[in-house]
Symmetry: C2
Subunit: 285 residues, 2 copies
């Protein structure tokens, strides 16, 4: 049976450092603060927001939510985000995704100040991830994947990593971060001809396709490391990942569970990014 | 023996369209213009500049060079680029690379107006390539690779593409452009464990590592398409690619030569980007 890569353990290990840095900032008069922007009240947004607030409270990062109506006029939404850009007390801005369809996502992404864009959706941060420039903020989820890999000392150099999924939220940035650690990276997606065969080549398999339990044992080479980024609901209404845990766990050497895996690290990464953003502000004073 | 993918043929095929568009712009009072910025007088810069000017002349794109001393103070270089940014007669700016070591490349890249950055080095254009947003300008060399693939009708959807090299000039942007055409993309580099074995999996192999004749027949699956992006000089002082053409050509189904391959398309892509930039300016009037 494989070793469970516990996201909770990783988040716990990160907590002390993030908290110490947040306290130092507050002591110096720059209490780190996150602004969450939420459109409407979708249950998964509320769920994520609750988790983010809990983590922020644990480490001493202030967190306010700007609630916008689901049908807020675009100009008003842009004004609200502009106000957060300009508010010197706010160090990080998280806009819960996806935004309503009538909002031009590009306008928001280009408006958001890169130095406050702690979830890496602005073009400047995307370019930095693409380039391998560590001064930017990659999105929290792929960063959480890297934190787990680092915490458990999983070797990447020269290793074969297969990423299932090519979204800008996970697949592509994860690929670039893994490439930055000198892995040989294959990016697969829905058009890939033989997905199981590609996946079976992986020393480390990262699943980020958003399909419940799609990755079964035949996708996994015995002894591979499996990182499950999916958060789905199965036919029984239970939270599950992209990986069919019960069939894959006996084959893999190490595997992240869902829940309790990548998702458990994401909000800690978010808090850490806010602290880093606040540190930069404090250092520039 | 394999079919030769002639860059000259591709450039020739592009010429008429680019020329027609350039003439239409000139007729409407917006003659398209490229500004080349060169530091010092390195022979390869002069060689590339000469090629760019020849292509621009062929299609009716004006082209001026701003010559800066190799030891020009950084502030002065930034002022010169800022002036080109502000010059309404200039639609595209190409800064010959690499810049001298005392110039902070990031400062230049962040200064350059994305809408004039026809060789895709500004962060906004990098983010657009990363994201798959076609409104940006990817670097000319990987775009030339795509033009060759398109011209010869090489199918990418679901195909396995292996890119050797992870630079921001070729490897990474080429990977994203290929991914955008729904290829399954593997990015290899100097730390990849078994480079020939990875390369042999490719339906389409893109070599962009900058080592003369490194890719030998054992890197190539019989029948694969081989695109050689390298421009090197061999031990006899002759121009050659990253691919050992004589050993690979009998194995591949289609192959680009060096010279006469990707490099022959690059300046036509550059001219096409300048025309597109000028068209946007004309349309916004």
């Amino acid at each position: 049976m494989s070793e469970v890569l516990s996201g909770k353990t990783v988040a716990q290990a990160m907590l002390e450092e993030v908290k110490t840095r947040a306290e130092a900032l507050s002591a110096k008069g720059t209490p780190p603060k996150l602004a969450i922007v939420r459109f409407g009240a979708r249950p998964d947004d509320l769920y994520y927001e609750k988790g983010a607030k809990r983590t922020c409270a644990q480490v001493g990062v202030a967190c306010d939510t700007t609630e916008l109506a689901a049908d807020v006029p675009e100009a008003e939404a842009l004004r609200a985000i502009g106000a957060l850009n300009d508010d010197p007390a706010v160090h990080g801005i998280l806009i819960l995704q996806p935004m309503p369809k009538h909002i031009d996502t590009a306008k928001v992404r280009y408006l958001l100040k890169p130095e406050k864009d702690v979830d890496g959706t602005s073009p400047i941060n995307q370019a930095k991830v693409f380039e391998g420039d560590p001064t930017g903020y990659p999105p929290c989820t792929p960063t959480a994947v890297m934190e787990i890999i680092k915490h458990y000392g999983i070797e990447l150099k020269g290793k074969k990593v297969v990423v299932l999924g090519r979204s800008m939220v996970v697949g592509k940035p994860a690929s670039m971060l893994l490439l930055g650690e000198h892995a040989t990276v294959t990016i697969c997606h829905s058009r890939t001809k033989d997905l199981p065969a590609e996946a079976r080549q992986a020393d480390v398999l990262v699943a980020a396709i958003g399909k419940a339990k799609m990755v079964t044992a035949d996708y996994v080479r015995p002894g591979a490391v499996v990182i499950d980024v999916g958060i789905n609901v199965d036919e029984a209404g239970k939270l599950c990942g992209d990986v069919d845990y019960d069939s894959v766990a006996p084959v893999a050497s190490q595997i992240t569970p869902v829940p309790g895996g990548v998702g458990s690290v994401t909000t800690m990464v978010l808090a850490k990014h806010v602290v880093r953003a606040a540190e930069k502000v404090a250092a520039s004073r």
